[in-house]
Symmetry: C2
DNA sequence: TTTTATTGATTGATCAGTCAATCAAAAATA
DNA sequence: TATTTTTGATTGACTGATCAATCAATAAAA
């Protein structure tokens, strides 16, 4: 079997497997064996390519954050007006992939991990900043800078909050309702600031 | 030493120690030894009283949720109008105790744990419902029922979101700013619904 | 032949949980 | 009151399981 050039293939398989296992398990206390098995290789190989469990976990965060970023960039490009771009950012955050229970569970686990792993924390900080900044950039086109900052902060918090609340699956709010709630927040805060900017009305 | 009636003392000491250790550590992967040491007893005693690590962790969640509940009830009693009661709920959520980095880290860890432990999940669901319900009850006095439900959902999400974002300590939002953001959300959504209900203006 | 891919077997550390033994206060008894 | 018995509190030492990490060995390209 040993064909040359397996490294990237194995790395990707392991990173994907890690995300799946973590999501199922709902926690980062997963074994290298589980991940390796899921990826169809031996635990030893996982260590061979990643050096340590922590490193594999970090690469996993990085990889999936990259994916989220790509989706956001694409969605924003497709949108024309600032208001549409705002909606695009929101939609990506609540896209089905992101909203799958295993994905939510995995993110949650990473948030917890960020308390201990400096590097994991760094990645999540980047995510948090990016979300805020994407919102801010477009809001600035719709209202004064200070208001934009306030609204961006609030919207980012609401998105993360809807996300984390979803993880409890108690009173599951649908994707559509989550989007509507966020849109309404932005509309309501924008309304008194710019006479006619708020249009994008959504149904619960 | 063996005075009788140590049980409640030890249980409380262990539960408090657990919260502290978890908070410091930023994770539930703490050892019984660490917790016991922090509480000033042997690991064996912790097992003697709680039976298992999981049980100690569950009691820890229960205990602290109880505390949060008590604070909320007290704060709501002190407030007179529905609008003031709303503010009271918000203030308690962002009270200094709750907002301490270790407390936030601990809650986050419990959220992650809830993915695996049915009982932990139950407690957090109770918390989530209670927050929503406290908001809802008072909002219903200020606007139509459907609007109240929507706003309660949004406010609860925003509170949790501000909370989780705080855990990254990247762009630390102050307690006051967090409160202001939540109040503004409620005011802004309430404004068009009831001509004069929104008053409680707060500064960033 | 050299290099890359891959694994089985093993090691060392860490922990939750157990248990038998100890110690001292309380309760019972003399 | 003095003495004995009982019981709750507490621990040190141990066990068994789990896992990350290592490594030497193998197999197949190049």
């Amino acid at each position: 079997m040993p064909k040359v050039g397996m490294e990237p293939v194995r790395r990707k398989a392991l990173v994907d497997a890690a995300m799946r296992v973590i999501g199922d398990h709902g926690s980062l206390t997963v074994t290298m064996s589980e991940i390796a098995k899921q990826a169809g290789v031996s635990p030893a190989l996982a260590h061979h390519y990643f050096g340590s469990k922590e490193q594999l976990l970090i690469e996993t965060v990085r990889h999936h954050l990259q994916r989220l970023r790509d989706s956001t960039v694409t969605a924003m490009r497709a949108a024309k007006t600032p208001r549409e771009k705002l909606s695009a950012v929101i939609h990506v955050s609540f896209h089905a992939d992101q909203f799958a229970p295993e994905t939510i569970a995995a993110w949650l686990a990473f948030y917890a991990e960020a308390q201990r792993s400096e590097e994991t924390r760094r990645f999540l900080v980047i995510y948090a900043r990016r979300l805020r900044s994407n919102l801010l950039a477009n809001l600035k086109a719709l209202c004064p800078r200070e208001d934009a900052e306030r609204i961006a902060e609030g919207a980012a918090a609401m998105i993360d909050g809807l996300y984390i609340r979803q993880s409890l699956k108690s009173a599951p709010i649908s994707i559509e309702a989550s989007i509507a709630l966020t849109e309404d927040y932005i509309n309501s805060l924008l309304a008194p600031l710019s006479g006619e900017a708020a249009v994008q009305r959504t149904e619960t």
